[in-house]
């Protein structure tokens, strides 16, 4: 028996390396951050002063309240819009359903700060709509900046999550359940409230968590459109960037508070979902019914309107990218100047984006499959621990992860700050859990006897993994990886903290161009990014053979 424990095979090696990798790049930085948040910047002794400072000054703690307030509003609004859209799209016949779905997904996958920035272009102080309305009607367009702007942009970006989750769940409801409700005399709105809503509730809560975490952690949107409305990620970023060294402890304390907050929300959601979780599988999904007359018209107008508003940012950036510019100002007429400037000055950002994202995705797929294998097929207390560790990136906001990595690796013995490695590491850490989960799910569906069959035919366990198991996993893993790749190229919140001149990525470049008010080049870069996203998405549809997106 004892001999078994000491067997040194490939999987033991994988197990130990994953513990080492997660320990080095996740736990060590995270604990450095926690410890740093309790240290006095001047003396280096233990203190609660950093937290005291935060809670004693309104300027600071207001950002926490703001964050919670805007995040809650975004989540509620997204739930309402996303659920309604999912219900109408599933229960009723909608013309151009496929196109609507693709546009909704595109608006979700493109970076939120593109939304922020094009809404500034549209409805900002000198925005197109603002000018138009004041010129023609002397009307005042409500301010796009601050709370309402963040709410608008984040809701439009995040309701698609709810839509995808809920419509997935609705597809799993067997039509006979609805018919049973109807046969018992339940109809209309009552049917929705008593049968359909409870059935999709666990999925809805999972989607709501995604929205909440994304909204809370989003850095780009409030930075560009928030103006006086301070939120936590922006506060952490500016405290950290302003005076690295002096204020790092204070920024660490704020980051710690944020991790505590997200952890609480995460555990709360898990607790609620676990209590009411059940599985469904439908033999006969709901059939979409046709609506007629005024109801039908209203539904179509609402859905098309929503999609139009969601996709406006993308259309705006593509349009403005072809406008003639003079310095930073748009002048009348079209040209490719913006693109010329981008390719002359910012070509590195484009190459960086592709190089980093491809490197990251290769590592994610390779590492994700191996770790998924040990956590599902080689269960032990060690692999259980790895499984728990991989949950952490779900709850760590991007900017916080950026700070932890920077704090941990800007000194000997391992200096990574300013390198491409640290950006790739942050991408891998952030996206690995998603690939890991989907790989595990796929592995659970592969019968172990398939592997045993291969072994019985004379293939060693390792060979079996690469020749059989991995090959069977690849299609599923790959389609998930494409989605991860799309989020990698759009990543801003951790890269903006980790980048230096040479490691700038497209999203960072867009952000800095917007900050410099050089909207033409920002638009051109955004167009390239959006185009890449759309191509990635089409590739995903092709590889996975379906439109089922899970993030």
């Amino acid at each position: 028996m004892n001999k078994k424990l000491l067997t040194w095979d490939f999987w033991t090696f994988v197990t130990i390396s994953s513990v080492a990798v997660f320990g080095l790049f996740l736990m060590y930085p995270l604990f450095s951050l926690f410890i740093s948040s309790f240290l006095d910047p001047a003396t280096g002794f233990f203190t609660l002063e950093n937290f005291g400072k935060f809670f004693s000054r309104k300027y600071y703690y207001q950002s926490l309240i703001n964050s919670m307030w805007v995040t809650t509003c975004v989540t509620i609004l997204s739930i309402l819009i996303g659920t309604a859209l999912a219900y109408f799209m599933t229960a009723f016949k909608v013309k151009g359903k496929g196109a609507v779905e693709v546009l909704v997904i595109i608006s979700m996958l493109s970076p939120p700060f593109i939304g922020a920035y094009s809404w500034v272009l549209l409805g900002g102080r000198s925005g197109i709509i603002t000018q138009f309305l004041s010129d023609l009607f002397q009307m005042e367009w409500p301010s796009i900046y601050g709370f309402s702007g963040i709410l608008l942009v984040l809701t439009l970006k995040l309701y698609p999550f709810i839509y995808l989750y809920v419509s997935g769940a609705l597809k799993k409801i067997d039509a006979s359940l609805i018919e049973a409700a109807e046969s018992l005399g339940c109809n209309g709105i009552k049917k929705v409230v008593t049968v359909i809503m409870p059935l999709v509730m666990p999925t809805l809560l999972a989607g709501a968590l995604m929205v909440f975490m994304n909204a809370l952690a989003d850095f780009g949107t409030p930075m560009l459109i928030g103006e006086g409305f301070n939120v936590m990620p922006v506060m952490i970023y500016s405290e950290f960037i302003n005076e690295v060294g002096g204020q790092a402890n204070f920024a660490a304390a704020m980051a710690t508070l944020m991790v505590i907050l997200t952890t609480t929300i995460f555990l709360l959601q898990k607790y609620v979902v676990n209590r009411k979780s059940f599985t469904m599988s439908s033999l006969r999904p709901m059939q979409a019914k046709g609506l007629s007359g005024i109801k039908n018209a209203v539904m179509h107008i609402a859905i098309y309107g929503l999609v139009l508003v969601s996709i406006i940012p993308q259309v705006t950036v593509i349009y403005t990218s072809f406008l003639k510019t003079k310095g930073q100002i748009f002048v009348s007429g079209f040209s490719l100047d913006s693109y010329r400037i981008v390719f002359d000055n910012l070509a590195l950002a484009i190459t960086n984006t592709y190089v980093y994202s491809f490197a990251a995705i290769l590592l994610i797929v390779f590492f994700g499959m191996l770790v998924a294998y040990i956590t599902t097929r080689r269960k032990s207390w060690l692999t259980d621990m790895i499984d728990t560790l991989t949950m952490f990136p779900y709850i760590i906001p991007g900017s916080v992860l950026g700070i932890t990595l920077l704090l941990a690796f800007n000194k000997d013995p391992l200096i990574l700050s300013g390198t491409a490695t640290i950006i790739i590491v942050s991408l891998v850490i952030r996206r690995l859990p998603y690939t890991l989960r989907s790989s595990s799910a796929i592995l659970y569906q592969i019968s172990p006897s398939v592997e045993e069959a291969s072994i019985s035919l004379g293939a060693s366990p390792l060979r079996t993994f690469f020749k059989i198991t991995a090959v069977m996993m690849i299609p599923g893993v790959l389609s998930g990886a494409i989605l991860s790749w799309i989020t990698c190229i759009n990543e801003l919140s951790s890269s903006v903290i980790l980048y230096t001149g040479g490691t700038k990525t497209m999203s960072v470049a867009i952000y800095t161009e917007v900050i410099r008010a050089s909207y033409g080049t920002a638009a051109a870069l955004s167009t390239i990014l959006t185009l890449t996203t759309v191509i990635g998405l089409l590739l995903f549809f092709k590889v996975s053979g379906s439109r089922d997106i899970s993030l």
Partner: protein, 371 residues
């Protein structure tokens, strides 16, 4: 090369739970050997120990003279057929069968010859370029069989290979398996919980219960001369009567509770007055003038037979039996009885089995536990 398998006092433990305490069996070269038992009896566990997917906590398993305890599964040269078929879904039928041959580095030409021959033997030539998802269950199992046999393994191991098929296909595949096994003459260990399947297909059967082999024998011996009450009731149906031995003038009788007696000339050492269990199969009764009376409780018409459920006088039969039954062969029946009627049944004394009162041993002379 096909081998004999020697299982010497093996033990299987998961943590503190012992699944197989101490089990021995010897499987001859080229034999079709079946492990039969209710679910949870350890038959699959034992098979997987032979395959190398389960560790061996004690004792030895040998292929001929080679102890295989520490040889990893992929070096044991076994062919295995799984309950779930375990066909590689991303490979075509031909590629599935080639898989093991490629690992053994046969030349392209050799591989082609071997695969062509086996495709023909299991009758799936026409599907060779299909992906497995487009095959029926029976066809998939043929692929699995071909894939396992084509590598000329030392032993062929089959884990409930037919349990996912429908009844008709099961019978068809049963003969296909037996036919192919005969052709290649390979030592086969077959696991099933289906006794009819075991009786039809095997050279010898090991009947298992809770990690212990209750009896090893040819199908006919297992059925006609079960070693103990478990085997006699697990394989087929047996009616159990409480009885007693009477020895008088060098003659030996078994006595039913109502005093009816049969003279037996095939019992081993028994003593006068010894309590016994008399085991009578439903087809070992016949309707006669003398015998034991009973009332018909229920009747099921089965074509060749009529199956009666019987009620005997109180105290006659052993407790905890599912039912006491009589199968009347319609080819020779003079009368079909109605529910509620009374009849007199005489057990065939050449066929019935007499067990010790503790149910553990057959008192008929020369019944072996391990044949």
């Amino acid at each position: 090369m096909s081998v004999a398998i020697h299982i010497d006092h093996v033990t299987k433990r998961y943590d503190q739970v012992t699944i197989i305490p101490d089990l021995s069996a010897h499987i001859k070269n080229g034999e079709f050997f079946t492990l039969l038992g209710p679910s949870g009896c350890g038959k699959t566990t034992l098979l997987r120990m032979i395959a190398g997917f389960n560790s061996i906590e004690g004792g030895k398993i040998k292929f001929d003279d080679l102890v295989i305890n520490e040889i990893p599964a992929h070096k044991r040269n076994i062919g295995m057929v799984f309950q779930s078929y375990a066909i590689f879904p991303h490979l075509t039928v031909r590629e599935n069968i080639e898989y093991g041959l490629k690992l053994r580095r046969f030349s392209k030409a050799e591989i082609k010859t071997k695969v062509d021959a086996i495709l023909k033997a299991v009758k799936i030539e026409e599907y060779q370029d299909r992906l497995p998802e487009r095959l029926s269950g029976g066809q998939q199992q043929r692929v699995a069989l071909a894939r396992a046999i084509v590598i000329h393994p030392n032993v062929l191991l089959m884990d409930e290979p037919l349990s996912n098929l429908d009844a008709k296909l099961r019978v068809e595949m049963r003969s296909a398996i037996r036919e192919v096994q005969n052709q290649v003459g390979i030592t086969t260990v077959y696991v099933t919980h289906d006794q009819e399947e075991a009786l039809a297909i095997s050279d010898r059967i090991a009947v298992m219960q809770t990690g212990v082999i209750e009896q090893i024998g040819k199908p006919q011996s297992i059925y006609t001369r079960p070693y103990n009450v478990f085997v006699s009731t697990f394989i087929g149906h047996s009616n159990l009567f409480a009885g007693k031995i009477k020895v008088e003038d060098h003659k030996t009788f078994v006595l039913f509770q109502d005093g009816y007696q049969l003279e037996m000339d095939n019992l081993s050492a028994v003593t006068d007055g010894q309590e016994v269990i008399i085991s009578v199969r439903p087809e070992e009764f016949s309707v006669q003038e003398d015998g034991i009376p009973c009332t018909i409780h229920n009747r099921v018409f089965l074509g060749k037979y009529v199956n009666y459920t019987l009620a005997f006088a109180p105290g006659m039969v052993m407790k905890n039996q599912s039912a006491t039954e009589f199968s009347q062969d319609l080819g020779h029946a003079e009368k079909v009885f109605e529910i509620g009627e009374t009849m007199i049944l005489r057990p065939n004394k050449a066929k019935i089995n007499i067990f010790t009162a503790d149910q553990r041993m057959n008192l008929i002379r020369d019944v072996k536990q391990y044949e």
